[in-house]
Symmetry: C2
Subunit: 285 residues, 2 copies
């Protein structure tokens, strides 16, 4: 497996992308904040299946953190990340410094997506999705990808990015990829590494409660209240974790629904002392 080229400057990664395209290659981008796990690996492999030039960006984007403690404790595992990129078929890794991405500090220019960002994580993480939308717009402009790969784990982020691409006519196709779980059900997250063993054991209740709701749904339950309650009830009994939200919303636009008579997303966030975890399942009506 050839090592991917590592780029630290915007000019260099853009030039490489243009050169690849001029040789007839499709350009794929997998935007990440590093601390790569099997979820990221699945995105990179998918990109490598579909594109001849695959850029993995690794940048812990400060402007999307609403909690400076979370930013400073965000795991950074550069050498291991490069191994993952190589093993999964990335041809380029873009590791810019903060000064390269934000040479004048916090940028005056912000991209924001209203409507989609008032609920779920948007309600408790002010500015988070503006930071995501802004850095994704920058990464698309820098790397000029034909396709960009996003996990359904961050479901609201996926919708925000799809919407901004549509609204701003950005010439990139957003490819959603399934959430990846540990064998015991825990949704993969870079923040899982911060959990104590007690927290991790409790965190299993999140996916367990979502799976229970799927079973209810498959047996015919369509009431949003009943399905949400099936998730919330077991989670309120946790001793370390505190429920941030449990919501069941329209899958295409996160609009409130009473009954699951169209595709919906059942999404959860739970705050543990060491990390806030999110998870979701899709219910296909």
């Amino acid at each position: 497996m050839p090592r991917p080229e590592v780029y630290r400057t915007i000019a260099a990664v853009r030039a490489a992308s243009r050169q690849a395209r001029s040789r007839g290659k499709l350009v794929g981008l997998v935007p990440t904040m590093g601390a790569l796990h099997e979820g990221h690996a699945s995105l990179i492999r998918r990109a490598a299946d579909e594109c001849g030039h695959v850029i993995v960006s690794i940048f812990v984007n400060p402007i999307q953190f609403d909690d400076l403690g979370d930013l400073s404790r965000y795991p950074r595992t550069r050498d291991a990340d490069l191994e993952v990129c190589a093993a999964c078929g990335a041809t380029a890794v873009f590791c810019p410094s903060e000064a390269e991405m934000y040479p004048r500090g916090r940028p005056l220019t912000r991209v924001s997506v209203s409507g989609l960002t008032d609920c779920l994580c948007g309600a408790t993480r002010p500015g988070h999705f503006d930071g995501v939308a802004t850095v994704c717009t920058k990464l698309f402009a820098i790397c000029e990808p034909d396709k960009a790969y996003f996990g359904e784990k961050d479901y609201q982020q996926l919708l925000v990015v799809k919407r901004l691409v549509a609204d701003l006519n950005l010439p990139v196709e957003i490819v959603p990829c399934p959430l990846v779980r540990e064998p015991d059900g825990l949704a993969l997250s870079s923040r899982n590494a911060r959990l104590s063993s007690e927290e991790r054991a409790e965190a299993l209740a999140i996916s367990r409660s979502l799976f229970a709701a799927i079973e209810l749904f498959e047996r015919g339950e369509r009431s949003v209240d009943a399905l949400v309650d099936a998730v919330r009830s077991p989670l309120t009994e946790l001793s370390l974790g505190e429920v941030d939200y449990v919501e069941l919303l329209g899958a295409d636009d996160l609009s409130p629904i009473d009954r699951v008579d169209r595709n919906a997303v059942l999404a959860v966030a739970v705050r543990f002392p060491s990390a806030r975890l999110i998870d979701n399942v899709l219910l296909s009506a």
Copy 2:
């Protein structure tokens, strides 16, 4: 002079731009709202000098109007506009419908540039520069120009666009072009067509007062108060026009200054019953 090709869809204008680039041509974009005058013509000619494929976009962008009356009265002169485009060397004209640009109505996604937009026109036209920044981001993504041409007449707009391009790493060079005046000094504007002959006669006081301030400056005056007063005093005596603002600010970032010891812009807005007019001059320290 060959007639430029007229495109009404995003897909078609983008395809033509990509084809031109693949043939080794530079792509230039002149974003306009139509009602083209000699100011626009100078932008198009400059673009045609520098680029092999010159797109003039003509789109009266509803989301940048804070005043619906101004939007409905904005002059629309399509046939004459196409003549100007042809005569000045444009190779493509992009005339999208509102539904093509905003298929879901007002977009959820907004691009905004803070700091630069609190003063001058930003102070009295809420949302105006967000609308400008959003439509320019769209037009750059649609047309994929190497260079885009903006007049210094809309000086604040020029700085906003330059800043968003820098902050979002958009791969386009912004080319500023000088303001163009009537022989009697009036700054060219599509809105001039709405002025009564009385208003137009009064409006000459705007450029006259700016020229007087330049003369003071050239004789050594560096006090912002004195230079602003040289513009404001004659304008307060107008019977039809009402001063919206007279400001003298740093030319690179519109920051307040006390003395003109760096490059500065002296900018004016005057509200007449039929139209609000703006004008400015640059003072080089």
